[in-house]
């Protein structure tokens, strides 16, 4: 399956109104709403398939036929004011880079943001994660800044999307 991604940016205002308009329009041109995700729409004509994902005012569009994909974007631009941002490179804090073999997903900038928030930019890096058996949570002194702790934990949870290897330890600490 050939994959091309386009992010479309809507200028229209209030979410619920334009979302209804958008979904009505998508259903009109042949998309069907996904059963598992209300923000996903699927268009299939037997040989080609297209997915359209809506997140607030960003749209991620991908499909198996690039000519028809451009046609779809044109159709959308007749109906809505939108800006075509081309191939996807950043979506929901995840950097997307196309390699010859597929797609590389990174959260490089996101990690740097977490480190800045934790005030740890000047710390020494290590490249080995703690061994699972060595994680012991002792009932010792309570940590002085629980709010900061929770903020960082939430950020780390989101990071497990592209870093499955920290999944265990992050959930162990939560």
């Amino acid at each position: 399956m050939q994959i091309a991604q386009i992010i479309v940016w809507f200028k229209t205002g209030i979410k619920s109104i334009w979302y209804t308009r958008l979904s009505d329009f998508l259903l009109f041109i042949g998309f069907r709403a996904s059963k598992v995700d209300t923000s996903l729409f699927i268009l299939s004509d037997g040989s080609n398939i297209f997915y359209l994902l809506v997140y607030v005012d960003d749209i991620l569009l991908t499909g198996s036929n690039s000519a028809m994909l451009h046609h779809l974007i044109q159709l959308l631009s007749f109906e809505f004011k939108l800006r075509d941002l081309g191939a996807v490179h950043y979506f929901l804090g995840i950097e997307v880079q196309s390699t010859g073999m597929g797609l590389m997903l990174r959260q490089h900038k996101y990690i740097l943001d977490i480190l800045t928030r934790a005030g740890m930019t000047s710390y020494k890096p290590v490249d080995i994660l703690v061994s699972h058996s060595k994680i012991t949570i002792l009932p010792d002194n309570s940590f002085s800044d629980p709010t900061r702790f929770h903020q960082i934990m939430d950020a780390l949870q989101y990071l497990t999307f592209t870093r499955p290897n920290i999944y265990f330890v992050v959930n162990r600490v939560c």
Partner: protein, 202 residues
């Protein structure tokens, strides 16, 4: 976690050191022609020195790309290594069924039945293997509905999942659904398996 302690923070710092050293690491989605689902499960036994709970997890591949994973302490204290493997297997089965549903919704053709790989102690016959898988599904279904289902409903739910019902050992459990709640039932079956794999029955 309502009251983080200094040891929590020490672990978080350790994660952050590691992230600092590996900021450029990423996740590669590989283009491929295979649309097969493969689940891999594993578990240790009572390895946590704090509460003797086991750690289990799974990793589900779609083609060559992992698309779903979980790793964590199990919520029960397993009384045998088989039971902990079994729990991990049940979790991954539930996940694979969900992914199957998701892929059907996305109109992705699944050419073959999903395969779930696991590691248990010694070889086991296909018969017990398949009935164990059915049991793990039943357990999952029952846990979801939180009630013991009557026999007729069981069969209906199983037929929805496309599961073969020609298993003699199953009847015992169907007649006694409450047994499925007993966390020790995994060891009743005396499973012996090594490097064998589970095939879901279409």
């Amino acid at each position: 976690m309502h009251a983080p302690t200094d040891s929590h923070w020490a672990t978080v710092k350790r994660i952050l050191y590691y992230l600092k050293g590996t900021t450029s690491y990423g996740f590669h989605i590989t283009r491929g022609s295979s649309f097969a689902l493969h689940g891999f499960t594993d578990a240790d036994w009572a390895d946590s020195i704090d509460d003797r709970k086991s750690t289990g997890g799974y990793l589900v591949f779609f083609g060559q790309t992992p698309i779903s994973w979980k790793s964590g302490k199990q919520c029960i204290v397993a009384r045998s290594s088989t039971e902990t493997e079994y729990k991990a297997l049940a979790d991954s089965t539930a996940e694979v069924i969900w992914l199957q549903y998701l892929l059907t919704d996305l109109q992705v053709p699944l050419v073959s039945a999903p395969t779930i790989w696991c590691t248990l102690a010694r070889p086991i016959s296909q018969q017990i293997l398949s009935s164990m898988l059915v049991l793990s599904m039943l357990r999952w279904i029952i846990t979801l509905s939180e009630t013991a289902l009557p026999r007729k409903k069981f069969r209906f739910v199983l037929s929805l999942l496309g599961i073969n019902l020609q298993m003699s050992s199953l009847n015992r459990f169907l007649l006694c659904p409450l047994l499925l709640f007993d966390s020790s039932f995994g060891s009743i079956l005396h499973p012996q398996l090594e490097g064998a794999y589970y095939k879901m029955y279409k």
